[in-house]
């Protein structure tokens, strides 16, 4: 693997500061406002070494929001191709995770799951992908998502299947 991948191991976590690139793919901007909120002194993610950069070529992590509209899809692929390996993505918000409220509309491709298939065809590898649900995701939820990505925190949600007992 490419150098820098050791960062993904829990033993070597936070050896490297995470530089993030903010990528809106046609969302309503609520998640983007929450991301900006995370970067303000109130939440102050720079104490964890998280820093916003202006170019995807400098970024370790892409903060992806929005349902990925057909219009933005080529630009999203170009941006993700420009991100160096290991290519980490944080899918933020209901739109990015599951396609959101217009998941079956003609104008959107339907969230990160559909994007993953497109990227596979294009030969762009995603090394790690973490989903942060929320509409919009709270700033704390985004910080928690980064912690899950780095292996500091373990995911709390679990898949459940409950069978109803007839009373």
């Amino acid at each position: 693997m490419v150098e820098g991948c050791s960062m993904l191991k829990p033993s070597n976590m936070l050896k490297k500061s995470i530089w993030v690139f903010h990528l809106n793919t046609g969302g309503c901007n609520a998640c983007d406002i929450e991301i900006l909120d995370v970067l303000t002194p109130y939440f102050d993610v720079e104490r964890f070494g998280i820093k916003l950069v202006a170019s995807p070529r400098h970024a370790d992590l892409v903060l992806l929001t929005g349902p990925i509209t057909r219009k933005t899809l080529p630009k999203v692929i170009r941006t993700l191709r420009a991100v160096p390996r290991p290519r980490l993505i944080l899918a933020i918000g209901a739109c990015a995770v599951g396609g959101g409220i217009w998941h079956d509309s003609y104008g959107v491709i339907g969230g990160i799951e559909a994007l993953k298939k497109v990227l596979e065809e294009q030969g762009v590898v995603i090394d790690k992908l973490v989903y942060v649900p929320g509409c919009p995701a709270r700033p704390e939820a985004i910080i928690y998502g980064v912690a899950v990505l780095l292996g500091i925190a373990k995911p709390k949600v679990k898949e459940t299947e409950v069978e109803v007992i007839v009373k």
């Binding site: 939440f43 209901a94 649900p133 929320g134 069978e163 109803v164």
Partner: protein
Amino acid sequence: MNKMKPLKLLDIARKTGVVTIRYPNKPPLITSEFRGRIVIDASKCIGCGACVNICPSNALTIKETYDKRIINYFIGRCIYCGSCADVCPVKAITITKDFELATDNIRDLNNRVVHYKAVCCRCGSERHAPENMIKFVIRRVPVAETYAHMATNCKKRKFVEGMLHGRGMLYVEAK
């Protein structure tokens, strides 16, 4: 004058103090109005599908098979509007204050409630509704238990047969 500016800033910073919240160490600010993920109480749920009808983003979906009715809650698409909790006739859905839902496997975001459908009391093979839902209907509406347990096609058949019998058009063999 300009040389004094940093000192002025220091003075302002001293007055304001530290504004940063220490999130992972201290609990975050959660107001009483905050809505997080929903939780479906399987012991109360009757599988009527009212929440699935109202859900604006199709986070709640229903899947019908021959003997099962599965209600799936996909957190990833939920917009936390709370409409499902409002419409639930048995108040099985509660809105929690959970928001730390980040995961690296999308399957973790699925919560399923599986209902087994009751067998029709007339034909003994067709299934039309979960047992708990039939019991809920019997409690609310004055309807005979055998009629409520009957599958939709059997109800139609019974109605047609009864009508034909009344007009003398149906020949029933005497046993």
